[in-house]
């Protein structure tokens, strides 16, 4: 019952719920998953109270199910995000996101002298450290850390 009182975003029949997104990362997650461009019914909740993490955001996308590789991209900005896969209003599966070994096309290289910041090049990073985020640029070989991370 307590859970129902706190539920500030309405339930969906079929689809995916992405919960425990840091409030500041909501729009990055939307961009990474291309949710600003799809036609599915989508609900966003921002700055909701979270028991564990302070302020959180939540996204519910009706009739959309994400591939593992696709959803793992959000791990850069929402490492503790939790997925609930919904069918007939029931949670049939819960999933965590994991940081992949390679990040392609979504993050910016922090090095202003990297060629990727001067020409139209799809960025590519190897994840050298998943705890203290360390992204090594495939081109300039410099490491972009969590503090320097900017999404494209």
């Amino acid at each position: 019952m307590a859970k129902q009182k706190q539920l500030q975003v309405s339930a969906i029949e079929n689809g995916t719920v992405i919960d425990h997104i840091p409030a500041a990362s909501l729009f990055d997650v939307i961009t990474i998953l291309g949710l600003d461009k799809i036609s599915n019914q989508t609900t966003f909740g921002a700055n909701l109270d979270s028991q564990k993490f302070g302020k959180k955001a939540i996204i519910k996308v009706a009739d959309k199910f994400f591939e593992r590789d696709e959803i793992n991209k959000i791990s850069l900005v929402a490492p503790h995000a939790k997925l609930n896969i919904i069918k007939d209003y029931e949670v049939i599966e819960k999933r965590d996101v994991t940081i992949p070994d390679e990040i392609i096309g979504i993050a910016r290289c922090f090095n202003p002298k990297c060629i990727t910041n001067s020409e139209a090049i799809v960025t590519r990073f190897k994840v050298e450290d998943k705890v203290e985020l360390a992204l090594k640029c495939h081109y300039c070989e410099k490491i972009t850390s969590r503090d320097e991370l900017q999404m494209l």
């Binding site: 002298k113 081109y139 490491i143």
Partner: protein
Amino acid sequence: MKNKSLISISDYSKDDILRILELAAGFEANPNQPLMRDKVVASLFFEPSTRTRLSFETAMNRLGARVIGFSDASSSSTTKGESLKDTIKMVSNYADLIVMRHPLEGSARYASEQSRVPVINAGDGANQHPTQTLLDLYSIQKTQGTLENLSIVMVGDLKYGRTVHSLLMALSHFNPTFFFVAPKEMSMPREYKRFLQEKGIPFYEQFEMGNIDKADILYMTRVQKERFSDPIEYERVKNTYVLKNAMLNNTKDNLRVLHPLPRVNEINYDVDANPKAYYFQQAENGVYTRMGIIAAIMGLK
């Protein structure tokens, strides 16, 4: 190595490195071998660099190749706003091999992805300069008779020094001991020390030149004033990292002084006459080493 670009020293294994040094020695013994007489090589220097460019172009010429290119971005269509991608795609349709220096980091890696022919990185910003490392290794092997188990002292700007980082990585295959001499502001970055720790390679850090009587190689680099946030600190340390002839008095007979050049004041001119000064021969070795690299990549040896 055949048909593969050389962008970063880590592209080459220990065996690849040794093979290049073997080829370099062959070219030093016999410098004029027109193996490339039917080939065209592009020398694309988007940023001026007299020494590297002339060294490469000499190597190309001694191999008999015809050379096309430019020595400054202002004399290329970069001034018209042409992207690097387009320039490389065009040139790779003309030439059999591209040698490139560019001010932006990652440019060489990108060029190798856009090019139909191999690309040799002659320096991409502050990132890699693998042919310098290979000629440094050739110089060390020539003067020491081996690359194994050496004591290497690196002096000067170890923080921004592209050549010291690269040399450190390459020598790690050969069981070295390192001594780092640098002001605190310019000390060897953490990621390289961590790299050495993970490989169990010993290194020692000191702020002054001190005792170099056990060193086999003394690798000098320039401490640049513009890198210091505090100009007074620069004034205080600038002479600590200058090599004078008297400092070589108690060193081993086989010690050699290397410097990637250009040298400013970090090696006193009184060192030049000392037989242990090797920096000019080191530059000459660049031609033979680059001939070896080109020959390996073109599959000619």
